[in-house]
C-alpha cells in the first residue's frame, strides 16, 4: 500500500535508555488512531519521530510511499503532516491571524503579478477567517494570544495546524487541562471540522474522548506496543486495563 503512514520497527534510544522499542504501525488514509499509554511510555517521542523533531536510532517511516526517516521537521511539514503540541505552542507576539498565516505554508505559491498576489492573499484571508470561525476565534483575529484563554489557545493551535490543509494531523493531548464539558465540545469540533476524511493520530489520556473519535486504538507501554485494534476491544483488554488504568485482576 503506497498511501498513508507506515512506520516499521521504530526505536529511539537516549544513551542506554530506550524511549521506543521496535514500534510498527500502519495508518490507512482517512483512518483515525487513538494513541494511549502511561506517562513516559513514548507517545510524544513517537510523534516527535514522525514529525522530524527527533531522529530514530533504528527503523523507518514512510508517508504516501516516500521515506521520511532523517528528513527535517520543515520538509515533513511540507509533505502534509501537521501537529499540535502538548505544552501549548503559539507565536505569542504574532496576532491570532498571523499565527494562522504562519500555518498556511502549503497553500501559498509565488505569484507572478501584484494582482495575482492580491487575489491569493484574499483567498488566504477568507480561508483563515472561515477556519477561525469554526473554532469561534474570528472575533479575536487581531488580538495577540495573550488575550486568549487556555481553551482558545488549544483551538488556535489546532486551527493553525489545519491551516496548512494537512493530509495527516497529529494531536498531542488536545484536551489536556479542559473540563469535561469543554472536552465534549472539542470532540464535536474535531469530528465536524478536523477529522472529516483526514487521517489522524490522537494522543490523549481521556478514554471517553478517544472512544468517541478513534475507531482504532494503539497502546504503548514502556516504549513497546502492547495492544492494537478496535477501540472498544482494546479498552476491554485485561492487560491494557492493568497497565494503563491500574486495575488489578
Amino acid at each position: 500500500m503506497a498511501s498513508g503512514l507506515r512506520v516499521s520497527n521504530l526505536s529511539l534510544k537516549y544513551g542506554g535508555v530506550s524511549a521506543l522499542c521496535g514500534l510498527s504501525m500502519d495508518l490507512a488514509p482517512g483512518e483515525v488512531i487513538g494513541l494511549i499509554g502511561p506517562n513516559g511510555s513514548g507517545k510524544t517521542s513517537f510523534l516527535n519521530l514522525v514529525t522530524g523533531f527527533e531522529f530514530p536510532t533504528e527503523g523507518a517511516i514512510f508517508f504516501e510511499g516516500q521515506e521520511l526517516t532523517g528528513k527535517s521537521a520543515q520538509s515533513i511539514a511540507r509533505k502534509g503532516i501537521a501537529r499540535t503540541f502538548q505544552n501549548l505552542q503559539v507565536f505569542s507576539r504574532l496576532s491570532v491571524y498571523e499565527n494562522m498565516r504562519a500555518g498556511c505554508h502549503r497553500c501559498s505559491k509565488p505569484s507572478s503579478s501584484f494582482w495575482q498576489f492580491k487575489a491569493a492573499r484574499n483567498a488566504e484571508k477568507e480561508r483563515i477567517l472561515s477556519l477561525l470561525d469554526c473554532f469561534s476565534l474570528a472575533d479575536m483575529a487581531l488580538d495577540t494570544p495573550e488575550a486568549l484563554t487556555l481553551v482558545q489557545l488549544r483551538q488556535l493551535d489546532l486551527a493553525r495546524a489545519l491551516a496548512s490543509e494537512p493530509k495527516l494531523i497529529l494531536l498531542d493531548e488536545p484536551a489536556a487541562g479542559m473540563t469535561p464539558y469543554e472536552t465534549d465540545q472539542l470532540a464535536k469540533t474535531l469530528q465536524d471540522h478536523v477529522l472529516n476524511g483526514r487521517s489522524a493520530i490522537i494522543i490523549e489520556h481521556k478514554i471517553d474522548f478517544i472512544a468517541a473519535l478513534a475507531k482504532r486504538t494503539f497502546v504503548l507501554s514502556a516504549g513497546r506496543a502492547i495492544a492494537d485494534g478496535p477501540t472498544d476491544e482494546v479498552l476491554c483488554d485485561k492487560d491494557v486495563r492493568r497497565i494503563y488504568l491500574g486495575e488489578c485482576g
Binding site: 527535517s72 520543515q74 505552542q89 507576539r93 504562519a102 500555518g103 505554508h105 487581531l142
Partner: protein, 296 residues
C-alpha cells in the same frame, strides 16, 4: 530649507537604514552588534565605484547592495549555527575585523590628477560624485528619501504577504516555525543578507553625502546605537526604528537646550521607555491595537 536642516534630516534618513537593518535581525531573533560592518562595506564599495573606478552612481548603489548582501550572507551561513549571545559576539567580531582590515586597506589611483581612494587609517577623501554631477543637497536628500521609501515599501509589502510573518515566526520560536514547514536556517540567512544589503545601501548614500569616510566612523558605537533605535521605537512595525532615530537625532540634536547633555537625556529616556515598554514604543501589542482600530 537651509543646509543645516537638510543635513539633520539626511542624517535621520541615513541612520534609518542602519536601524532598519538591525531591527530586521532582531525580528528574526538575533541581536547584531555588527550591522555597521555592512554600512562600512557599502560606503567603501560605493565610494570606490564612483570616485576611483568612475562608475555611474546607480551602478555604485547596486554594487554596494550586492557587496553588503553577499558579505552578510557569507557571514550568516556559519554564524547562524550559533545562537543568542554567541551570534552577537560573532557579529561584533566580524564588524571589528572589517574595521581593522579597512585600517590597512589601501587602494589609491590617480584620477584627474588627484590620488584618490581608501588610504587605511587616513580615510578615504573626495568622494565627490554629488558635486561633480552638480546635485544640490536638497535633491540629494530627496534621493536618500527615495531609497529609504523603497526599503520601507519592501518591508510593508513583505508584511502584506507572508514574508514578515515567516521572519517573526522564526524569530520567536524556531521549533514551532519548523513545524509550520519553514526552513528556519534559510529564513535567518536570507534575512541577514537582506539586512546587510539595506545597511550597505545606507552606507553608500552616507559616503557620498559625507565625501569623506574613515574606518573609525564604523565602530561599535554606531552599531549599538542602531540596535537601540529599533528597540526604543518599537519592534512591532518598520516605523519603530525610524521613530527611534527621530527621537535621538531629530529631537535631541536639534533642541539646543540639550546641547552637551544629549546623551544623559537620551540615555535616561531610553532607560525609562524600556522599563515601561520592554519592546519599544510601537511594540507588537500597540501595533495590533492600532490596526484593529483602523479596521473599525
Amino acid at each position: 530649507m537651509d543646509v543645516y536642516t537638510i543635513t539633520v534630516l539626511a542624517n535621520i534618513a541615513l541612520f534609518s537604514f542602519l536601524a532598519i537593518s538591525a531591527w530586521l535581525l532582531l525580528l528574526v531573533g538575533e541581536i547584531s552588534f555588527g550591522q555597521q560592518a555592512y554600512f562600512a562595506i557599502g560606503a567603501y564599495t560605493g565610494g570606490v565605484s564612483t570616485a576611483v573606478l568612475q562608475l555611474p552612481f546607480g551602478i555604485a548603489l547596486l554594487m554596494a547592495i550586492a557587496a553588503g548582501g553577499l558579505f552578510a550572507g557569507l557571514v550568516a551561513i556559519p554564524a547562524m549555527r550559533l545562537s543568542g549571545l554567541h551570534f552577537s559576539i560573532a557579529s561584533l567580531a566580524f564588524a571589528e575585523l572589517v574595521r581593522s582590515v579597512l585600517n590597512v586597506f589601501q587602494y589609491q589611483r590617480w584620477v584627474d590628477g588627484y590620488l584618490t581612494g581608501p588610504d587605511g587609517v587616513n580615510g578615504f577623501r573626495d568622494i565627490r560624485w554629488i558635486y561633480d554631477a552638480g546635485i544640490d543637497p536638497g535633491t540629494y536628500f530627496l534621493m536618500i528619501l527615495g531609497c529609504l521609501s523603497v526599503v520601507m515599501l519592501g518591508v510593508v509589502m513583505a508584511s502584506y504577504g507572508r514574508g514578515m510573518t515567516i521572519v517573526r515566526s522564526v524569530g520567536e520560536n524556531r521549533r514551532l516555525a519548523a513545524a509550520q514547514g519553514m526552513n528556519a536556517t534559510r529564513v535567518r540567512i536570507i534575512t541577514a543578507s537582506v539586512a546587510g544589503a539595506i545597511a550597505a545601501l545606507g552606507g553608500t548614500l552616507y559616503a557620498h553625502m559625507a565625501t569623506y569616510i574613515e574606518p573609525a566612523q564604523f565602530g561599535l558605537m554606531i552599531g549599538v546605537h542602531s540596535l537601540a533605535y529599533g528597540l526604543i521605537g518599537g519592534m512591532g512595525t518598520v516605523f519603530g526604528p525610524l521613530l527611534g532615530v527621530l527621537i535621538d537625532i531629530g529631537a535631541l540634536e536639534t533642541l539646543r537646550i540639550f546641547s552637551g547633555y544629549r546623551m544623559i537625556f537620551f540615555g535616561g529616556l531610553v532607560a525609562l521607555v524600556l522599563i515601561m515598554r520592554p519592546r519599544g514604543i510601537l511594540d507588537e501589542a500597540t501595533v495590533a491595537k492600532v490596526q484593529r482600530w483602523l479596521r473599525g
